[in-house]
Amino acid sequence: MNFKHKYVFLFPGLFVLIGILIFPIIFTIRLSLSGWNSYTPEMNFIGITNYIRLFTDDPRFWESFFRLSFLSVTTVILQYIIGFALALIVWREIKFKRFFRVIFLIPMMTTPVIMTVIWRTFFHESLGPVNDLLGNLGVEPILWLSDPVIAKFTVIIVEVWQWTPFMFLLLLAGLLSLPKEPFLAAAIDGASPFRKFVYVTFPLMAPISIGAIIIRLIEASKIMDTVFVLTSGGPGTATETSSFYIYIKGLREFQMGYAATLSFTYLVIMIISLTIIAKVLTKLMIKE
């Protein structure tokens, strides 16, 4: 039997991998070395000019990156805490358990862009119902979308509302798969619910928690639709994130070469930072 034939069976998968992953990355790298824009529509070669521009003359990208870090870390921490709390509630034997499980998942099932339009309407400072309601209680209108600080928290509220159910779903699945024996042992020892959570539930959930946090961090770091619809990155650049900035450079200003530089640099940063975060979380949360 000629074992070389087995490699033939790898080709379909390999072709798909090259087509959807390797080629786009190589093309992006090549594009990043070109000056393709609206007035020079060609794949010329300009060396590392775009990279020099990014590292020496584009503070807006780095500002948007640090803003993105703040937004994604904050939203994921909040999603984890709230998602875990909700999962613990419906994990227990409570009335209408199935009903609550479905209710908690609804935000995730809705279309993000449409829901963000609805949130934008809610938070409209002069015409929206939120300020109207607060006005009835004697509270002055809050600048939900036009104050640079508050606007960031408005984005966080919408993101947390939309994606906490995803965290809830993963953590609930984790809770349901936990072995019963450690809990029985803790009950025999007379452990309080708090101690049971700290010494049994949380450590057992650590691997799933890390997975859930990393998945959400990857997703949150691509935040684009919420910002695009809710604030367009404003006021000023107060809510502009890396992906939105790359979109502006690429598809609004048509600086294709430079946008490719931003995209590739962003990809490298994300791979490195998420690898480090995963390692740190593993060290902190999983005790041998």
């Binding site: 007035y39 002069s126 006021p235 609004r252 600086q255």
Partner: protein, 511 residues
């Protein structure tokens, strides 16, 4: 007696046959959109189009989202299909993506759309991919009525690339029931010592807007505010900033550029004139409705058109929306030229020239062209000609949400507007405002150079930072000017100069 009766009947019949306006005909029965005028004879009228046969052919159009420009595009596509037998596919695209959606296939040498809608300031980037408008359309009667300004906007170096379907300029809209109200005039005088009148300068605009901000001055039980403006970054706000800057920076004594000094190509956007305008604009954040700093064009139209503010300035849409019969402020609004300034920056003497200065801004507007690689060019131009025929045009300009605004000499007649229910004096002030802008010798035209998007985006980002309090007006505009220098270096000064000189020639009344 019988003879007199016969003459009267004959006269009425003759008038009906010869009159170009307001009677039902077989076309308006089929197409109620033109019920006010019926079909109006012309090269691209309903009657003329019904004689064309495009059966079995497909026309593909990329246009804006509904309703602004998207709705009339789809409506006229449906009519065109019925008349000619063609199949018309209309794709709707958000404003921010119109440029890229056409540009990507253009650069790849493809033509997924026969007709592409965009903005008139795309012309420099798009013109190499667009088919020039054929001579027979340029010379036809309906085109002869287009104002010279709008012919200029649709053309490059004398070649027309964009088919005129819309005319745009920024002007002031105000609440006539407040400004002309004797009680408020008395109260304003008593409280401020100044006259309440249509603001002549941006300073007056700011004072009045601040005075009428945050209280119920129209007795509807809701608070009203001073001004609604397009302040949202990336949502056309740079156009609003240019409108506010023109009076301070467009000095008729210093021809040769408003955005750049054409000789040196030094950006002028951080000179004291622009800084003064941005300082005024930062102050305006105090008299816009809550959240007004995030208003895009749609919000501005809704806010002023809904009766929420005293002033507004931008395209015609908010004014026309306010004048529609279902508007709460129908026939309560007035139009005037953009406010001026009592000083204007002179870049030759590096000092302010004292005295009143006003400069209308012929902001970019909707534009449309036919792809050079299209295989259905004749049908595409026929569609555009039909879109803009006299009957369609007259019906379209009276519907605020359509975004079709006056660009023909006939539009500047008050009768056109009184026929759709406007008060005579409002119609007159509206057409006078538009006509004065056409006649002005100190006009500003939009920036139409390679990399227009980059220049405008850099300016918008800087201005947005100032409005949000992230930077001072001077620091923000210095940042924008530095970015403009970088863009110039990337695009090439000579490339930009060559393109910019066309706009400067229009501003300096040489074209």
């Amino acid at each position: 007696m019988k003879t007199i009766k016969t003459y009267v009947v004959a006269l009425i019949s003759a008038l009906l046959v010869l009159s170009p306006v307001a009677y039902a005909d077989k076309w308006s029965d089929q197409f109620p959109h033109i019920k006010a005028t019926g079909d109006i004879p012309g090269e691209c009228s309903y009657d003329a189009m019904s004689k064309k046969n495009y059966k079995g052919k497909t026309l593909k159009i990329n246009t804006h989202a509904v309703p602004v420009m998207g709705e009339p595009t789809a409506l006229h596509a449906e009519q065109f299909a019925k008349l000619t037998g063609a199949k018309v596919d209309v794709t709707h695209t958000p404003a921010g993506d119109l440029y890229a959606k056409a540009m990507v296939p253009f650069q790849a040498g493809q033509a997924p759309y026969d007709i592409v809608f965009g903005f008139s300031n795309f012309i420099n980037d798009w013109k190499r991919y667009l088919e020039p408008v054929p001579k027979k359309y340029v010379e036809m009667k309906q085109m002869q009525d287009v104002t010279p300004s709008h012919i200029g906007i649709a053309s490059w170096d004398g070649v027309m690339y964009q088919f005129p379907v819309d005319g745009d300029r920024h002007y002031l809209k105000y609440r006539k029931d407040v400004i002309d109200n004797p009680e408020y005039q008395k109260k304003y005088k008593a409280d401020t010592g100044k006259e309440l009148r249509v603001p002549q300068t941006w300073k007056e605009y700011g004072e009045m807007a601040a005075y009428f901000n945050g209280w119920d001055w129209d007795g509807d039980g809701e608070k009203e505010y001073g001004s609604a403006e397009v302040m949202k970054k990336d949502d056309l706000m740079y156009a609003a900033f240019y409108s506010r800057s023109a009076a301070y920076s467009k000095n008729p004594k210093t021809p040769g550029g408003f955005f750049f000094d054409l000789k040196t190509m030094k950006p002028l956007i951080n000179n004291p004139g622009f800084v003064e305008a941005l300082t005024d604009w930062v102050a305006a954040t105090k008299y816009v409705p809550p959240g007004g700093i995030n208003f895009g064009l749609g919000d501005e139209i809704g806010s002023f058109g809904g009766g929420q503010t005293l002033f507004s300035f931008s395209w015609d849409d908010a004014f026309v929306a306010a004048m529609q019969p279902d508007s709460p402020i129908n026939n309560k609004v007035g139009a005037a030229q953009l406010p001026g300034a009592m000083k204007v920056w002179n870049r030759s003497t590096n000092s302010w020239d004292e005295g009143f200065n006003q400069a209308p801004f012929f902001v970019w507007g909707w534009a449309v062209g036919v792809a050079k690689k299209s295989k259905e060019k004749e049908m595409a131009f026929d569609y555009l000609c039909f879109f803009a025929n006299e009957a369609n045009h007259q019906a379209d300009i009276g519907i605020g949400r359509f975004g079709v605004n006056p660009f023909r000499n006939d539009d500047f007649k008050a009768d056109v507007w009184t026929q759709i229910g406007w008060d005579k004096d409002i119609a007159q002030s509206y057409v006078d405002t538009l006509a004065q802008m056409e006649d002005s010798k100190n006009r500003v035209f939009p920036l139409r150079v390679p990399g227009t998007f980059e220049f405008n985006a850099a300016l918008a980002t800087a201005a947005a930072k100032a409005l949000a309090g992230q930077l001072s007006p001077q620091a923000a505009l210095d940042e924008a000017a530095k970015q403009w220098e970088d863009i110039l270096n990337r695009v090439g000064k000579d490339n930009v100069r060559a393109a910019y000189s066309v706009g400067v020639a229009m501003e300096d009344n040489k074209l």
